[in-house]
């Protein structure tokens, strides 16, 4: 119940903020742009009808959505704990009978709800598709969305962790973007590392793990990876919150 109240407060704060609507608009504009260009490309290469929509369109579109999420999620997470520290409301919050884990859960779930709102907006493109070409072949989309959701959870937890390290939102946002870009580029350096190292990097990469989901295949190993990644960063965030016990700061 306490987590629910924290979640509601945090989500209310998102919904009351013009910045959130800005992020939502950017997300929807970019996702709409990518859907249009991917659809145009699909129509161009598929004039003989060789490609199904899953491999020809959805997979490509979801890959582009990953990129949009990477750009926009830092704007969602940067305020979560940094703002509380800046305002001093974190001290007020900890004076209530709340566990740190409850505070963290409320914030994480609010971030997730905001992400769901953004992803729900992107569903409009599929409604357009369904209106013209019917619902056949849309089933793999659920796997694709599950993949994006898991990626979103991982990115949110990482962003939340970085937001807990500073009270400056701009720094939190930029640092989060930097870390996300690092994860994006992680597998791009094949020439710089040996084959075995690249294999490890591929296993660690957040973004490359989604290809299976985008083709409609849910691999439990990939699900476990995202859950563990998310759990690790939430745990690290909790540990940062506990540093107030010995740091003597907000």
């Amino acid at each position: 119940m306490k987590v629910y109240r924290l979640f509601r407060r945090e989500l209310g704060s998102y919904l009351a903020s013009p910045a959130f609507y800005g992020v939502l608009t950017i997300f929807l504009l970019l996702s709409g742009y990518f859907f249009f260009t991917d659809l145009s490309f699909y129509n161009t290469i598929n004039f003989k009808g060789d490609y199904g929509p899953v491999e020809g369109l959805w997979s490509r579109y979801f890959s582009d959505l990953r990129f949009v999420m990477m750009l926009t999620l830092p704007l969602l997470t940067m305020r979560l704990l940094a703002e509380e520290k800046k305002l001093g409301t974190f001290e007020l919050l900890t004076s209530y009978p709340l566990r740190d884990s409850e505070i963290l859960a409320g914030k994480f779930l609010a971030g997730l709800a905001a992400l769901l709102l953004m992803l729900a907006g992107s569903l409009a493109h599929f409604l357009v598709w369904a209106a013209f070409w019917g619902t056949q072949g849309l089933q793999p989309l659920w796997a694709g969305y599950l993949g994006l959701l898991l990626l979103g959870c991982a990115l949110l937890s990482c962003g939340l962790f970085i937001s807990s390290l500073t009270e400056n939102q701009a720094i939190a946002g930029l640092a989060t973007l930097g870390v996300f870009v690092f994860f994006w580029f992680l597998t791009w350096n094949e020439l710089m590392a040996s084959e075995s190292v690249v294999r490890v990097l591929v296993r660690l990469s957040l973004f490359d793990r989604l290809q299976g989901f985008f083709k409609g295949v849910i691999d439990t190993k990939d699900v476990a990876f995202f859950v563990l990644f998310c759990g690790l960063f939430l745990y690290l965030t909790l540990r940062v919150m506990e540093t107030r016990f010995w740091r003597g700061q907000k």
């Binding site: 109240r5 704060s13 001290e91 007020l92 900890t94 004076s95 009978p97 709340l98 107030r244």
Partner: protein, 315 residues
Amino acid sequence: MIQVDSVSKSFGSVHALRRVSFSVEQGEVIGLLGPNGAGKTTMMRILSCFMPPSSGSVRIAGLDAARHSLAIRARTGYFLERVSIYPDMRVASFLEFVAGVKGAPAGGPKKEAARVMELCGLGHMAKRIIGNLSKGYQQRVGLAQALVNQPDILLLDEPTAGIDPEQVVEIRALIKELAQRSTVVFSSHILSEVSQLCRRVIIINRGELLAVDTPQALGAALADGRGFRVVVEAPGGQDLAGPLGAMPGVRSLEDQGEEAGGRAFLIQAAREADLARSLCALAFERGWVLRRLEPLEHSLEDTFLKMLAREKRPS
């Protein structure tokens, strides 16, 4: 109600508190005094369970703060002047949120929020956004959130700082009323306010406890003598200063001029001198009229400054 035993708190090489011990009785209003950087905020943070002490123990309502932090926080109201409240929330929504996370009593968060708004004179501000309120009203919202669920212990850090005099009077009256049922630890820079509201004061400086007592007892203990103000009327323009200054035990005499048909003097005397008796005998002998004789009280400000000055003196 509050038992602080040999509490120390260090942040790396900085010792914010060193072996501080005191206790606060149930229903007592106690003032926490000290200059900037004395350790008041650290003490408040430890009492509010924001952070544990490095060593020593804190027991609140019989519970160990290190082990039962959640139970203690459920019974504590905490107000911090320097902390802003969520500026994007409306007054009623914020207080309902606080009532919800504090586990509102029967009637639910809405009813509890309405109760504290009424108590703090915020009823007409319920729908206003906190960030748009004046400093005074934001202070009231801060106080209102501390009062949610009728806490047994109130920790108030500078509750009247930065607000207009009329609201100061109202908030002081409210604190007095709250003291009827809660134990209050009250920190303020306004010493007259502390002496007005608190029965006892805790004075800390550079992390060390200097004293815990009533302002009167502290003043008396620090004074190296006793002061009196007298107004004497002498017939025929007799010399007053000479005989007054010659009384046994008198250390200094200050002529304050004509007043109420006589002449006023400030007399500092040794602690053991019985000035009242000597003065009455002198007046009787010389045919003076003793218009006024009043002992001088030490203000909390005097006491506080003397205590800090004594600390600074090389031993």
